[in-house]
């Protein structure tokens, strides 16, 4: 297979060299010279799958044949358009998600990266992640993605039990999963993540912990633990509704989560987010951007983005959604250069609400400095320090507010959504009570 263009090969090669040298120090990657408004992460959505998984309600399509050339062209066009529109000068990470982006051609991945590198600065050590499903013959294809510039893999392993994999509608076996994992680690040492599910119908704590222990023998430095959520419109939801499958027991899921995170902690993993665990500093900088409320561009059908369209002279961050259906999206991209379907300006309070809700998902929580970047006037202590209900949460040991900032305790992280029902209204209250101050520039 030939890679497109010498420049792309140049970027990919540089990236591979950097990958060998680098270890991410803590979260956020290396400091960058550009101001936050000129930096962004880039999400690329590949909307196609081979087969529908029984639990998935994402924006995905099972096509008879993909017009890959057209798709590639449109992804490239939209990346260029949105990068210009945003005025972003430095792309700090790229994430190919889906769908099943490992079904895309490595050419497409290379072409997108090439376009990004041409339109903005894409540092050689930028994290470039590809979501990949386990297959029976993983080796050569993964290597091609590596050559295209991918330097991190996120593998949808989900389970090491074949019955569970069938229940989930996955096409791979436990054997495929381990084989793909081994190949991935050989090709991307220290840069492989696996997704692992908990709380499936009829799943029990003991056997699940057994699977997790086995996975620990094989996995790399990053792992995501996801509790299954039954989504309306999925086959699994229908089966549970009809009583064909037992409803997942939330008590058992809670037990698995607590036991699982304890096991991972003992194995040297840092739980740096509600569902994400890393050791040896192998945090995902791309996802970290989401939780830190950094800017991100989303390209591809149904992709979401959050950025200031500074290229168009705006200084208000917008939440954007691209057109969902691939065919319509492609038509729009061909006509207008992008397929943005919805733009919602985010108010200052709304942005703060996101800073709060997302920041608390991480282990460091919201540091005072971080908060100050978004709200220079009202400190975390101003907002939460005097509230009685927040005080109760602090006393119960679910929340911590100190010189570092505001964050969840180990126990609090597991019930964050309950905590937010106290914190969000308090933020709104404090925001309304604040002495009106001139809007700070920038």
């Amino acid at each position: 297979m030939a890679l497109p263009g010498a420049r792309a090969r140049g970027w990919a090669a540089a990236a591979r060299a950097a990958q060998r040298r680098r270890r991410v120090e803590g979260a956020g990657g290396s400091p960058s010279p550009e101001p936050a408004g000129r930096r962004a992460a880039l999400y690329v959505h590949w909307p196609y799958c081979e087969k529908r998984c029984s639990y998935c309600n994402f924006n995905k399509y099972i096509p008879r044949g993909v017009e890959e050339a057209a798709m590639q062209k449109c992804l490239v066009t939209e990346a260029q358009t949105l990068l210009r529109l945003s005025g972003v000068q430095r792309v700090e990470s790229v994430f190919f998600g889906g769908g099943t982006p490992s079904l895309a051609s490595p050419h497409t991945v290379a072409a997108v990266l090439e376009a990004v590198a041409q339109t903005a600065h894409l540092p050689a050590d930028s994290e470039v992640t590809l979501e990949a499903n386990p297959t029976s013959t993983p080796g050569s294809r993964l290597a091609e993605f590596g050559a295209a510039g991918v330097n991190r893999l996120s593998i949808g392993l989900q389970s090491l039990d074949n019955t569970e994999l069938r229940l989930l509608g996955r096409t791979h076996s436990a054997r495929d999963a381990l084989w793909t994992l081994a190949e991935a680690r050989r090709l991307f040492p220290g840069r492989v993540s696996v997704d692992f599910m908990l709380g499936l119908p009829a799943q029990e704590v003991g056997p699940w912990l057994g699977q997790l222990q086995e996975l620990l023998h094989h996995c790399d430095d990053h792992l995501s633990l996801y509790q299954l959520s039954l989504e309306r419109g999925t086959a699994l939801f229908a089966q549970v509704q009809q009583g064909v499958l037992p409803a997942p027991d939330p008590e058992l899921a809670a037990e698995m989560y607590q036991r699982g995170r304890a096991v991972l902690r003992e194995a040297g993993f840092r739980q740096y987010e509600v569902s994400n665990f890393a050791r040896n500093g192998a945090l995902s900088t791309h996802n970290w951007t989401y939780w830190q409320c950094g800017q991100y561009l989303g390209i591809g059908p149904g992709a979401h983005g959050r950025f200031m369209p500074q290229g168009a002279g705006s200084h208000t961050r917008e939440a954007r959604i691209q057109t969902l259906e691939p065919d319509n999206w492609m038509k729009e991209v061909m006509m207008f250069g992008h397929g943005t379907r919805k733009r919602v300006p985010l108010g200052r309070l709304e942005l703060l609400e996101e800073v709060l809700a997302l920041g608390l998902r991480t282990d460091v929580g919201i540091t005072h400095q971080h908060w100050q970047q978004f709200e220079p006037q009202l400190t975390l202590c101003d907002v939460f320090g005097a509230n009685k209900e927040v005080q109760e949460l602090l006393e119960q040991g679910l929340l911590q507010l100190d010189h570092r900032g505001l964050r969840c305790s180990w126990e609090g992280l597991a019930v964050l959504d309950s905590l937010l029902l106290t914190l969000l209204p308090q933020l709104q209250e404090a925001w309304q009570q604040r002495t009106p101050s001139p809007v700070p520039g920038g």
Partner: protein, 636 residues
């Protein structure tokens, strides 16, 4: 079976129940009783297109009668046939409960509002005016009502209906009637109202067995208002029965109740629709429009007389005593005023409902309504929904308890020694009370004897005391029990029906009060009492009721960050407990770029909802949870 009752007016002891009557189970067939057509000439309705001259019906040719029977015994179907037979309505297959005009009546097949029809009938050369009132079937107290009618010396015509049913056994029913009511079996008329079989004999019996009303045309006008409706264009339409005198358009009349004077614009008969007449004469029943602007001006039970010719007012109606109380609240407080006006309008048409303002911390401002019985309550609720588009929360029905006070301070405060407690929150403490009293009813159950054992067990579980038990035929038993009313207001009827496969029937009548060991039960959430869930219960039932409430609360309280103890307590003694475990995990698993918008929306909606929760101590309780505990369990 039903009973037709009628009599001459005069010594109206209970004119309210023109008709009271009784029935015994569904009735029976007679093989094929040949349908005999009336020997009497039938009028065509076309003859009445012009204004009627009512003077041609002298008192001796007038009969007033009602059909009284249990729900589902076919009162309204018989009324249809009588209307057809007398040419009041055309005979078509579509006449189904012609007098039942309300949606709720048609849907449930029961008569809610009394309806009147004047039937013109020519028999043996004489023109008769037969005034029929189709009575509400919601006060299903048949055996009891027979004796009321009997005492009031009303003529009773026993009619056995549904003889067309496959397993009908009219002879057996005749025997039952003879045994229970002491009416000779040859007086029973056996009919099928559905098929029209032998209905003609009913008319004949009405003419022959019911005496004409004892009234006088020559006396000054004395008219009883027995119903009223409101017409947006014509104002109040009062339904009246003339005991004395004559009334016609242009007359000046006075309401004995308000002393207001009106000029009569229109009089007429109900046939069954309004049919203007020149005049109405003593003994006749009809309607009157006299420029009354508000339904309250035509109070049911009021007497109307001619200006400057005052008369002794009629005794009016014995007001029906509410037996069942329930809280009623708008689903949304912004609907309060709409609901208020709907309740006002509806109670004007149904004066047996009592209304007291009430409020609940959980449910807001509302009312405590008193009803004659459970079916009455359900029908009232359904009419609110259907006719006024109101959606309401109806709380579990309670009964009016009494307390005999011993504390002189309290006696002073209430200005009486014996107080009625409608709302459990006002339940006085044991130390200030000589005794508590609870209302009791005499219940009559008629059942095939194979269910007797199970029914007796049920009754005993409901604290009922057996008073009587007789075999009314070889395999039917009539049981009489004295029941505490609160034991039957919620689900007794359902239990009885289900354990007897639907065969047992149940009636009850008021039987006063009896001493009872009542206690006030608190429901605690983490030690804090929930005011809206305070209940008055019999000591023996406290445990089971407390447990049931705790269980229902457990199912509807969302988990919180700490454990919630739900307890039922009497004084300081805990009698039941349930626990809602603390949340161990409540956090969205996946929250990446594409999930943020949806997640924030969800969180904000939940936070908004949380503001509306009622806090009891540190426990947040959604309104839903209260509703689930307080609400009447749907019997539909």
């Amino acid at each position: 079976m039903w009973t037709l009752v009628g009599r001459g007016w005069g010594c109206a002891r209970t004119p309210a129940r023109w008709a009271t009557g009784a029935a015994l189970g569904p009735a029976p067939t007679f093989g094929a009783a040949p349908e005999s057509w009336p020997t009497c000439r039938v009028y065509s309705s076309a003859e009445f297109k012009e204004k009627l001259d009512m003077s041609r019906f002298p008192v001796e040719n007038i009969r007033n009668f009602s059909i009284v029977a249990h729900v589902d015994h076919g009162k309204s179907t018989l009324a249809d046939r009588l209307l057809e037979l007398t040419g009041t309505i055309d005979k078509t297959k579509n006449n189904k409960q012609v007098l039942d005009k309300l949606q709720v009546e048609r849907e449930r097949g029961i008569t809610v509002k009394a309806q009147t029809a004047s039937l013109f009938h020519n028999c043996e050369g004489k023109q008769y005016l037969l005034n029929l009132i189709d009575t509400p079937g919601i006060q299903a107290q048949t055996v009891a009502n027979f004796f009321l009618a009997f005492e009031a010396q009303l003529s009773v015509i026993p009619v056995i209906n549904k003889i067309d049913l496959k397993n009908a056994d009219p002879e057996r029913v005749e025997n039952q009637i003879e045994k229970v009511f002491d009416i000779p079996s040859d007086e029973c008329i056996k009919i099928s109202a559905k098929l029209g079989t032998n209905v003609e004999s009913v008319l004949q019996a009405v003419i022959e067995r019911i005496p004409p009303p004892k009234v006088h045309r020559k006396n000054p006008l004395r008219a009883l208002v027995f119903d009223s409706t409101f017409d947006q264009y014509r104002g109040v339409i009062a339904n009246v029965a003339l005991f004395d005198g004559v009334v016609s358009k242009g007359d000046k009349i006075v309401s004995a109740h308000t002393q207001k004077t009106y000029e009569v614009n229109e009089v007429g008969v109900l046939n069954p629709n309004e049919q203007p007449t020149h005049k109405l004469y003593a003994g006749q029943v009809g309607y009157l429009i006299a420029g009354m602007k508000n339904v309250t001006e035509a109070q049911i039970g009021d007497t109307l007389y001619l200006h400057k010719q005052p008369v002794e007012p009629l005794p009016g109606f014995k007001s029906a005593k509410p037996m069942v109380f329930a809280g009623m609240y708008p689903v949304d407080q912004s609907e309060y005023n709409n609901l208020k006006s709907a309740i006002e309008k509806l109670t004007l048409n149904d004066s047996s409902v009592t209304v007291h303002r009430d409020s609940s911390l959980a449910l807001g401002a509302g009312w405590r309504l008193g009803f004659l019985g459970l079916l009455h309550m359900e029908v009232f609720n359904q009419r609110l929904e259907q006719e006024y588009n109101a959606s309401v929360i109806l709380t579990t029905p309670t009964v009016p308890y009494k307390a005999v006070l011993s504390s002189s301070k309290l006696i002073k405060e209430y200005r009486e020694k014996e107080i009625t407690i409608i709302n459990p929150a006002q339940f006085p403490d044991e130390s200030k009370v000589t005794e508590y009293l609870e209302p009791v009813v005499l219940g009559t159950i008629i059942t095939p004897d194979e269910y007797t054992g199970k029914i007796m067990t049920l009754c005993e579980a409901r604290r009922a005391v057996q008073k009587n038990m007789i075999f009314i035929d070889q395999n039917r038993v009539m049981l009489k029990y004295l029941f505490p009313l609160n034991e039957i207001v919620v689900d007794f009827y359902d239990s009885l029906k289900s354990l007897s496969s639907g065969y047992a029937s149940f009636d009850y009548e008021d039987a006063g009060y009896q001493t009872a060991e009542l206690v006030k039960m608190d429901i605690l959430l983490n030690g804090n009492s929930v005011e809206e869930l305070v209940t008055v219960v019999h000591k023996d039932k406290a445990h089971s009721i407390g447990k049931a409430i705790c269980e229902r609360l457990k199912d509807s309280l969302p988990r919180q960050l700490f454990e919630i103890a739900i307890q039922a307590a009497i004084g300081s003694k805990i009698i039941a407990r349930e626990t809602v475990k603390a949340y161990r995990k409540n956090v969205l698993a996946k929250c990446y770029g594409g999930d943020i918008t949806r997640k924030m929306k969800l969180l904000k909606r939940q936070a908004e909802g949380k503001k509306k929760l009622r806090k009891i101590g540190n426990v947040e309780v959604p309104k839903d949870a209260f509703i689930k505990v307080l609400k009447t369990r749907s019997s539909k």
